[in-house]
Symmetry: C2
Subunit: 308 residues, 2 copies
């Protein structure tokens, strides 16, 4: 059985992964917002380090009310708009639809599950360097992995097939364990997203300076400590060193929060910082450095809003 896909948020992430599936011949339906008219006329263009492609007539929609029900929904919205899912998702859902949240942070699946108690949910953990460079144009310049972690899907076969579809479409994908995957991604996301904003810099400069390299190591240990405190076993202090080495080998990188701040878009502070810090605090584990970073980001966001 071929699965029908719905892509909620056709940007740098949703446009790339959904585009790969469509380019491989899958039945993919894209929700667009500001780019809807452009994509209707000109299609979706993906420039990719793994090979460019163009979708001449993608199934494009401006409302989920017009879209068919799907077997798999890939959600690639910014998490600042998470509550939109309350109205976006229902038209797409069959009883066994799998919804995959390809978003960053902690607490996303918990909230969506509360809004839709019977929903079959998974987390999508993306490692990709891509951006939407103009209307209908996605530029994918590095990496491109998408790991899938079951959260509340009673049918493991659905996830197996999604992973197989992705790999067949040229996207490296693996099944991973939910809490471990979400927290491991946070070990990288929490220090680098906020610090590049507050210090107006990129990953390479933070690691070339031994003082901020040390700060990042301390922050990573706060995340690892929180995860361990919350019962995530398969993550240990040495993971910080792996992440530091991996980042040093990367091209100079502006995390998504840095791009959001520079372009005066709201930052994903809630799920990237507030929720994990709250969870850790409730479990008796303080994260003073990351809490201070959260406080600094909230100040900057409030200042930016004032200047708009």
């Amino acid at each position: 059985m071929k699965m029908r896909y719905a892509i909620i948020g056709t940007g740098a992430v949703g446009g790339y992964f959904g585009g790969r599936l469509a380019h491989d011949g899958h039945d993919v339906h894209f929700l667009l917002h500001s780019d809807y008219d452009h994509v209707l006329r000109h299609g979706l263009q993906v420039f990719s380090c793994n090979g460019d492609f163009h979708l001449q007539h993608p199934n494009a929609y401006s409302s989920t009310a017009d879209m068919p029900q799907a077997d798999v929904v890939l959600v690639a919205l910014k998490s600042v708009n998470e509550a939109l899912l309350k109205t976006l998702l229902p038209p797409l859902l069959k009883p066994d639809t799998l919804v995959v949240l390809i978003q960053n942070g902690i607490g996303l699946e918990q909230d969506v599950q509360q809004w839709f108690p019977k929903l079959h949910l998974a987390a999508g953990i993306a490692f990709i360097y891509s951006s939407k460079t103009q209307a209908g144009v996605v530029s994918h310049v590095g990496y491109g992995r998408l790991n899938i972690a079951d959260y509340s899907c009673p049918d493991p076969q659905r996830i197996v097939q999604l992973v197989a579809d992705l790999n067949a479409a040229g996207v490296e994908a693996h099944r991973v364990e939910y809490a471990e995957a979400r927290w491991k991604k946070s070990v990288w996301n929490m220090p680098f997203n906020g610090l590049t904003v507050v210090l107006n810099t990129q990953t390479d400069k933070l690691l070339q300076n031994s003082v901020t390299e040390h700060l990042i190591r301390e922050m990573m240990q706060e995340v690892i400590g929180a995860a361990q405190h919350l019962g995530v076993q398969r993550i240990d202090p040495s993971y910080a060193e792996q992440m530091l080495e991996m980042t040093k080998a990367m091209v100079p990188y502006s995390p998504s929060m840095k791009l959001d701040y520079d372009f005066h878009r709201p930052m994903e502070i809630h799920y990237l910082y507030t929720r994990p810090i709250q969870l850790a605090a409730e479990a008796g584990f303080p994260m003073p450095r990351l809490q201070m970073l959260e406080q600094q980001l909230k100040f900057l966001e409030a200042s930016t809003a004032l200047s708009l």
Copy 2:
């Protein structure tokens, strides 16, 4: 007996306090650097909310080697130049000369005492809003208190007379207890100096936002905790609330470190942050938020140096 004064650093602070003493008829000798020629020709102008005055022919010098020995030396250099005192002070010193360090931070007297083991030292704790607006011109716009704390002066009368001279010259001055005064000043200095730099803002905006107000309260408690851990008894958590209320009543204020950073001058990170954080750590008291602020400041200073 009238005391002879030497002023090391005739800027916003030294120019004001030394100027008041000279204006009141005291024998005051000023060390100048970039403003030497201008002050020789045009004198020293002080615009002050407590009354303007002009010194037509102040005793101005470009080297302490040309200055007479003094009874009291007021040091108002930026502490980034502290090691200059090794060569600046000796020509001014008699066996009983009192050297007063009107500077911000923790560890200043300890270092100078190590360089001059027999020196009679005091701390000057200034509460003043002033700036050098151009060569030979000091603009004093608010406050103006100068408290004096004995550090290693065997003659209490010398400090009594200094305090009396200051008050007679129109400068509110009091004798205060050394460790308590230095740490109390740090309760204000440590949060506000660094945060206004990192978040590119002023005191009022930090306190109008409840998130950063909370962060500042947490930082103040770190300083108070460190002081208590180091045996400074007369400082308790309620002092943070006093400082917050005092700051809310102030005009919007850019602390000296913010001005230094904006004008690409080196920041007083060492004595304002590194030393108190080290002292507290050695006593087993961590200051994670202020250490993170120190780390952020060091990154910004290194980045600025690169851009010069």
